[in-house]
Symmetry: C2
Subunit: 215 residues, 2 copies
DNA sequence: TAGTGTGAATTTCTTCACAGCG
DNA sequence: CGCTGTGAAGAAATTCACACTA
């Protein structure tokens, strides 16, 4: 266990990718250094938080100057494990699964879609955006062969837990769940969820409780 | 300002939709009451949290018995502002915008897609899944006429802030941002974000730091 | 001198534990 | 007696404020 002295708080981990994106922009603009203040503005947080967050990675700044963009970008990529690609598998070749396979953003950011999986024999063998649809039974083999470490659940809610179990069974312990269902995984696995309707419902709450109930 | 005595904490608001979904399931199964323990299990949290969260809505439980499923469902819907539909507009009729328009889950949960908006004249006038594409200039009129209160940003990152400003300009103060960019809105507006690649990067971090670095 | 790094203070969120009620 | 509702304790996250140094 890497129980390192300075474990990085969850809230910080969730912000690192935002900083990373900001740094990539700065590199594009040929900026060689950046202050916590500037980075905070770009990331939409405050400067104290940036400094605290970055301090968990190590002392990579220079007092009176700021942070070296390229060096910080490298250190952060390393910490996030983004120095190599992570092939992903998408479970469910329905509307959402197809859309995700079709979405270039994953591959572009180092998460190539290695396979789509569906239980429907009619879909198996097809291709979407160059990604082959396989049967569930192939999952363990594919996971092994293609070194898949992350599974994306894009099935109906009713199938989500079973599909999560199949992923775990195949040795895939990082799961991103798009199905509107609560799924549980053992503590050694990681689970993130994206629930579109839920986000809208949260907005609805604040809309409902807005000072001036516009409309 | 509704500075009511018991403001509901943000963390609680974010969980209410999960409880709501669980309650809907229970209603389906003809369960008339539910304990905090059972609800906690369904929502993937612990019972103390459920009770604390529900207590912000009022004292809707019965000691020794639990919560009346139907009554709690109603009170929660009301609090979340889900007793009526909230028409939404999707900004950007590209891959993602089309996929979202095509995704039935929104309408089904009370967020009908009233319009797609795109700047590209070639796309204006088309329909996707029965949703008409309009030009940006039409936004203020559409917002007014259709009572749109929520805007979904599905444009490239480079356009996201400008599009957010257009939404605010049109009186739409609740925004769900899918573009991989930080956008800022005035304090009276609400903003939620969904960033797919970011979620994968967070998973990558934990994968990287996993006890047994499977693969 | 400008801007980092970080203890300390503050706020927010979670969990505990039990009084109190149906 | 069982389960809610909630003060109080505890943990996590945020913000403050300033010593320190390149």
């Amino acid at each position: 266990m890497p129980d390192r002295a300075r474990r990085i708080p969850e809230a910080t981990v969730a912000r690192l990718p935002v900083y990373l994106r900001s740094l990539a922009e700065l590199l594009d603009e040929k900026e060689s250094t950046v202050s916590s203040e500037r980075l905070a503005e770009m990331a939409g947080v405050n400067a104290a938080k940036v400094r605290k967050d970055l301090s968990y990675l190590g002392s990579y700044g220079t007092r009176g100057v700021g942070y070296d963009v390229e060096y910080l970008l490298f250190q952060m990529s390393r910490e996030l494990g983004l120095t190599h690609d992570w092939p992903v598998v998408i479970m469910g070749a329905g509307n959402l699964g197809q859309a995700l396979a079709n979405y270039g953003g994953f591959t572009e950011r180092g998460f190539p879609v290695a396979a789509l999986i569906d239980a429907d024999p009619d879909k198996v063998g097809r291709q979407y955006h160059g990604v082959q649809v396989h049967h569930v039974d192939e999952l363990p083999r594919l996971a092994e062969e293609k070194g898949i470490a992350i599974g994306i659940i894009a099935t109906p809610a009713s199938a989500a837990q079973a599909v999560a179990d199949q992923l775990l069974e195949a040795g895939i312990r990082s799961i991103l769940n798009f199905a509107p269902a609560v799924i549980t995984v053992p503590p050694e696995a990681s689970l993130r969820k994206v629930d579109l309707a839920l986000e809208l419902q949260i907005l609805s709450f604040y809309q409902q409780h807005a000072p001036d109930p516009a409309r």
